[in-house]
């Protein structure tokens, strides 16, 4: 029973990946919207874009890590 609950928990933790997908989409979409309005300023902001993407994505990776821990370590 305990092991099965851990599997359910792992599945629930995987929802975090979807949430991270929303975050990454928001970052990239807003960057594109801004870049199309002022293309000359876009090149200077790619570093900021990637930092933002990395931060948004890291939380999804944490969710993935939690589900891996629940599947194999707990």
């Amino acid at each position: 029973m305990e092991g099965q609950l851990a599997h359910i928990g792992a599945g629930l933790a995987a929802i975090g990946s979807g949430a991270a997908a929303i975050g990454v989409g928001t970052v990239a979409g807003n960057y594109l919207a801004g870049a199309l309005r002022n293309p000359s300023a876009a090149a200077g902001q790619t570093a900021t874009l990637f930092i933002g993407l990395a931060f948004a994505e890291a939380l999804g990776i944490f969710a993935f890590l939690v589900s891996l821990l629940l599947m194999f370590a707990v």
């Binding site: 570093a47 890291a58 944490f62 993935f64």
Partner: protein
């Protein structure tokens, strides 16, 4: 086996840069232009993010970038394995950056480095609360820094393996094989981006150490 794989990555780096820079032609050969592109890219990034006084630490950042990039791409050889998908390797890299940057901050600025946590432009009541949050986020940095890299590389490989498992079923195997190709293409992108992200975050942390006042 594992040290051997890292040795392959190191040999590839040495190969590109030693063989590439041997000719030193005005019109670069292909290998030389690869080396020049990577060098120029990282140099410009360090200069843009950290400023002129960060250029002194360029060799460290370049080493990190090359090691991570080549280790990431090493894993894209089928049946191979990436050192950077192990949390132990990335934790050493991440905590190495964390300790280097923290020590450097205190050496360069003395106690003024603690001003990094004290937002002088925030309302006075909020400052202690923000300081606590800043301290926590500072100490979480090496954890997220290393887990991001290992997690991304490991997750990509897990997805490839899942699709490879589907390929054994005759009914869905065409879809699965197409999926593997698509995910592989994505992984080529992710490997480069993760090396870039690790390096640029190192630059951002270095900038915080060199100029702690916001």
């Amino acid at each position: 086996m594992r040290p051997r794989r890292q040795a392959i990555a190191l040999l590839a780096i040495v190969g590109v840069f030693v063989l590439g820079s041997r000719g030193r032609a005005v019109i670069p050969t292909r290998l030389q232009s690869i080396g020049e592109l990577i060098y120029g890219f990282i140099y410009k990034m360090v200069e843009d993010v950290c400023g002129k006084d960060g250029v002194k630490y360029f060799p460290y950042i370049m080493t990190l970038f090359l090691f991570i990039l080549f280790s990431n791409y090493l894993a894209l050889i089928p049946m191979s394995y990436s050192p950077t998908s192990m949390i132990a390797v990335t934790a050493i890299l991440g905590f190495g950056v964390f300790f280097a940057v923290t020590i450097l901050g205190f050496v360069k600025n003395g106690p003024a480095f603690l001003g990094l946590f004290w937002m002088s432009d925030a309302p006075a009541i909020l400052r202690p609360i923000i300081a606590v949050i800043e301290v926590i986020s500072y100490f979480v940095r090496p954890v997220s820094h290393s887990i991001r890299l290992a997690g991304n590389i490991m997750a990509g490989h897990a997805v490839l393996k899942v699709f490879a498992g589907f390929a054994a079923l005759t009914l869905v195997s065409p879809v699965a094989i197409f999926g593997i190709v698509a995910i592989y293409g994505l992984e080529v992108l992710v490997c480069g981006i993760q090396a870039y992200v690790f390096t640029i975050l190192t630059c951002v942390y270095l900038k915080d150490a060199l100029h702690p006042s916001h």
